[in-house]
């Protein structure tokens, strides 16, 4: 009985959490026009640009490095099997499709979640602990509009861009493997890659990136806003932000991959 109670409590808490995220997301969308250029306040859009640099530009190096490594590992692992069947050329298809549909967006999301999701949570959590969020509210400034929305707008712009960059680095590292193995030149390799992927692969990857960006920002900020207590609570919220956003990103990935699979099947 106690076991069932625990499951029930867990389900209710999970639903409440997702409900809270949804409400926060809706609030963010409502305030988005006040952050956008032309319709919004100037300072807000500058804040979004600063966030783009923090989330995107600063993460490019690590994403490039990780993508090159994963691309090369993937090419080697698949290559070692396919060589036995005399089908080494399919490494190019696998790396290209694997990265555009799956690995690029997922890898980017995991890196950004670790770097920026935790930073969002720590930043907002500290603002809660030092009463800065209360100060905003007493100044009639909406904390969602002031803190969350610039981060969200920045993330939905730069995370898909980072995914594209990850795809490019991963696919290029596949060429390095193929060049070592078969001496194929870059233009032939790219030509092969171009023919093996279609627009649906690219769009499904970009659509996932947008969903991952939403999850990372909403979870990171939610964990920050929920902080109660002192600096130790900020530390816990940071850990929680990374764990929860990673879990939700993978869950969403599985769900949307299943949907895209069914769509392709038809």
């Amino acid at each position: 009985m106690r076991f069932l109670e625990r499951i029930g409590t867990g389900v209710i808490q999970g639903l409440a959490y997702v409900g809270g995220l949804t409400i926060q997301f809706a609030e963010g969308l409502r305030t988005a026009p006040r952050v956008l250029p032309v319709t919004g306040r100037r300072g807000r859009w500058y804040a979004a640009i600063r966030e783009m640099a923090l989330i995107g530009v600063d993460a490019l190096g690590i994403i490039a490095l990780v993508s090159v490594c994963i691309g090369f590992i993937l090419a080697m692992q698949i290559g070692s099997e396919l060589r036995r069947w005399g089908a080494l050329q399919y490494v190019m298809d696998t790396v290209a499709i694997g990265f555009t549909r799956e690995i690029g967006p997922l890898l980017t999301a995991l890196v950004v979640s670790g770097r920026s999701g935790s930073a969002f949570s720590a930043e907002i959590g500290t603002m809660v602990v030092t009463n800065e969020i209360d100060a905003l509210r007493t100044m009639a400034i909406d904390p969602i509009e002031f803190v969350l929305t610039p981060k969200y707008l920045a993330a939905i712009i730069v995370i898909p861009c980072l995914s594209v960059a990850s795809n490019a680095f991963g696919i290029l590292s596949g060429w390095v493997f193929m060049y070592i193995e078969t001496k194929i030149n870059l233009s032939m390799y790219l030509d092969y890659v171009y023919n093996s992927i279609d627009m649906r692969d690219i769009f499904s990857g970009l659509a996932k990136s947008l969903i991952f960006a939403t999850i990372i920002v909403q979870v990171g900020c939610r964990e920050g806003f929920r902080v109660k207590g002192g600096p130790d609570a900020v530390g816990r919220s940071t850990t929680s932000a990374v764990v929860r956003s990673t879990f939700l990103v993978i869950l969403a990935d599985a769900f949307f991959t299943a949907i895209f699979y069914l769509v392709r099947k038809d």
């Binding site: 306040r41 030092t130 009463n131 209360d134 100060a135 100044m139 009639a140």
Partner: protein, 269 residues
């Protein structure tokens, strides 16, 4: 009778099973300085947070300028908050912004004033609280007193009708604290602001208060003028005024544990 700018009626607040405020009722008139006194954990900061509308009470109402802040629309709440200024205990300055940016934030956000006008205003108002040389400094570079003055300047940036202070003198030396008291009196005299100050500093309370409200264990035990408060015979007020500690043994469980640790009772004996 003067107009009540802040009206608290039978306000009760519970956190879980703990009752933090118990049917507190209080009217604060326009242009007066009301000091909320009380020991640690008496509920005075909680009362202030409910007056600001940062938390929802378990029961009772808080009316600011005639509007029930727990039942009004978000737009009405925003409009009320534009007419209030709050200086928090730890100043609550934005750590990522300079003193100048901290001050000008509400002006940029809530008015359509041109940037040069805001700049002049910022320089004048910060100079008035002695921070004219510290405009570009970050909050972490300021002393405790400077932070409090920056917080007061930010709270008064838009000349609010109501000003609320949470422990303005806490952690300050007597000279800086006396300077802040003077600033508060000046704001009242020049702008006829309604001011609420939460404190447990008696000297500061007697210096600035028109009336003093004292909370004890979540209940309001008196609202009195300074003279009435000084002459009060209420045992808790006398204890507070005479700086008398709680009688030893008031907390029997803690005393028993102390005795145990000292080896006077229990297993050690």
């Amino acid at each position: 009778m003067a107009e009540a700018v802040i009206s608290v009626d039978s306000l009760s607040v519970e956190y879980g099973t703990k009752r933090v405020l118990d049917h507190v009722s209080l009217d604060i008139e326009r242009g007066e300085i009301m000091v909320l006194l009380g020991g640690s954990g008496s509920g005075k900061s909680t009362l202030l947070r409910h007056i600001i509308g940062l938390e929802r009470p378990t029961s009772g109402t808080v009316r600011i300028l005639g509007t029930d802040i727990n039942r009004c629309s978000p737009k009405e709440l925003k409009s009320i908050r534009r007419r209030m200024g709050v200086a928090f205990q730890e100043a609550a300055l934005f750590n990522s912004m300079s003193v100048e940016e901290n001050f000008s934030l509400p002006v940029h956000e809530l008015t359509d004033l041109a940037d040069p006008v805001i700049e002049i205003m910022t320089h004048m108002k910060l100079a008035a609280v002695g921070l004219g040389e510290s405009l570009q400094q970050m909050p972490q570079e300021l002393s405790g007193g400077m932070k409090k003055r920056a917080a007061v300047a930010r709270a008064t940036a838009l000349d609010p009708e109501i000003l609320l202070f949470d422990e303005p003198s806490a952690g300050l030396d007597p000279i800086v604290a006396a300077g802040l008291d003077q600033d508060i009196l000046l704001l009242k005299r020049i702008f006829n602001m309604t001011i609420v100050v939460v404190t447990h500093e008696m000297a500061s309370a007697f210096n600035i208060a028109d009336r003093i409200a004292m909370l004890y264990q979540g209940s309001l035990i008196t609202i009195a003028t300074k003279d009435e408060f000084r002459k009060s015979t209420h045992p808790r007020i006398r204890q507070f005024l005479d700086r008398q500690p709680d009688p030893i043994g008031a907390n029997t469980a803690a005393m028993h544990r102390l005795e145990e640790l000292a080896g006077l009772t229990g297993a050690g004996v």
